[in-house]
C-alpha cells in the first residue's frame, strides 16, 4: 500500500534517491583518509628538506607509491564530494551551480589523474 497522497503520486516528486550514496561515500572516503593522511603527514615530515634523489628513492618503494596514489585519488574524491555540498549550499542560481559543479568535478578528476600519473612515472622510473 502506498503511503503517498494521490497528489504527490501524480506529481512524482520526492526523494531523488541519490543522497544516500553521496553521504555513504563521503564517510567511506573519510575513513580511508584517516590512516592515509596520517601516513602522508608522517612521510612529509620525514622527507622535509630532502634532495630530489631521496624523494625519488622514497617514491620508488612500492608501499609508498601505492599509498601516495591512494591518498591522492581518495583525497580528490572526498574533496569533490565536499566542494559539491558547499556549491549546493551557497549558489542558488541553478544554471550557474550546474556549470560550477561540472567544472569542479572535472578539476578533481584531472587532479587525481595527474597526481597518480606523476607518482607512477617516478615509481616506474620512466
Amino acid at each position: 500500500m502506498s503511503m503517498q497522497s494521490p497528489l504527490s503520486r501524480a506529481k512524482g516528486m520526492g526523494s531523488a534517491k541519490e543522497g544516500l550514496h553521496h553521504w555513504v561515500v563521503q564517510r567511506f572516503t573519510g575513513i580511508a583518509l584517516v590512516p592515509l593522511s596520517l601516513w602522508f603527514m608522517w612521510s612529509m615530515v620525514c622527507l622535509a628538506g630532502a634532495e630530489h634523489a631521496e624523494v625519488v628513492a622514497w617514491m620508488q618503494a612500492p608501499v609508498n607509491a601505492v599509498s601516495l596514489s591512494l591518498f591522492v585519488g581518495v583525497a580528490a574524491y572526498h574533496s569533490a564530494l565536499g566542494v559539491q555540498v558547499v556549491l549546493e549550499d551557497y549558489i542558488s542560481h541553478e544554471g550557474f551551480r550546474m556549470v560550477k559543479m561540472i567544472v569542479q568535478k572535472f578539476l578533481h578528476y584531472f587532479l587525481a589523474a595527474l597526481g597518480i600519473f606523476c607518482v607512477l612515472q617516478v615509481a616506474l622510473g620512466a
Binding site: 564517510r27 583518509l33 617514491m59 591522492v72 583525497a75 574533496s79 595527474l114 600519473f117 606523476c118
Partner: protein, 133 residues
C-alpha cells in the same frame, strides 16, 4: 539538491548575527573552511608531485616556493587544516554512529578536537623546525 525557492514575501528566519557565539558553531564553520583550504592544498600537493616527476630543477624550484615565507605560512595552514579536519571528521563519524549528542558531549568532543589538532600541528612543526636548525 534544493529546488529554486518560489518568490514570496514571507519573513526571513533569524540569521547568523542574532546568535550568541558558541564554540560548537565555530568548530562547524571551521570544518567547512578547513575542508575548502585542503582542496587548494591538494592542488599544491599535485603541483609538488609534478615537480618531482619533472626532475631536479623543477623540484628545486618547488622546494624554494615551499620554503619561502608565503609557502611556509601556507604549509603551516594546510597542516593545521588537515589535522583539524581529520579530528573533527572523526567527531562527525561518532555522531553518525549515534553517540555524543548530549550538550556535554558536544562541548567535550569539541575541546578534545581543538586540543588534539593543535598538539599534532605543534608536534609536526617542532620536528620540522628542529630538523632544519
Amino acid at each position: 539538491m534544493s529546488q529554486s525557492q518560489p518568490s514570496t514575501n514571507r519573513p526571513m528566519s533569524p540569521h547568523l548575527q542574532v546568535y550568541r557565539w558558541q564554540i560548537t558553531m565555530t568548530l562547524s564553520i571551521l570544518h567547512r573552511a578547513t575542508g575548502v583550504a585542503l582542496t587548494f592544498g591538494a592542488f599544491a600537493l599535485v603541483a609538488w608531485l609534478v615537480a618531482v616527476a619533472a626532475g631536479p630543477e623543477a623540484y628545486a624550484a618547488a622546494q624554494a616556493c615551499l620554503h619561502s615565507p608565503v609557502g611556509a605560512v601556507l604549509a603551516f595552514g594546510w597542516s593545521f587544516s588537515l589535522y583539524y579536519h581529520l579530528c573533527n571528521g572523526i567527531r562527525h563519524l561518532v555522531w553518525d554512529a549515534g553517540s555524543g549528542y548530549s550538550m556535554k558531549g558536544l562541548y567535550t568532543g569539541g575541546y578534545i578536537v581543538v586540543a588534539v589538532s593543535v598538539a599534532l600541528t605543534a608536534a609536526t612543526w617542532a620536528v620540522l623546525l628542529g630538523g632544519a636548525a
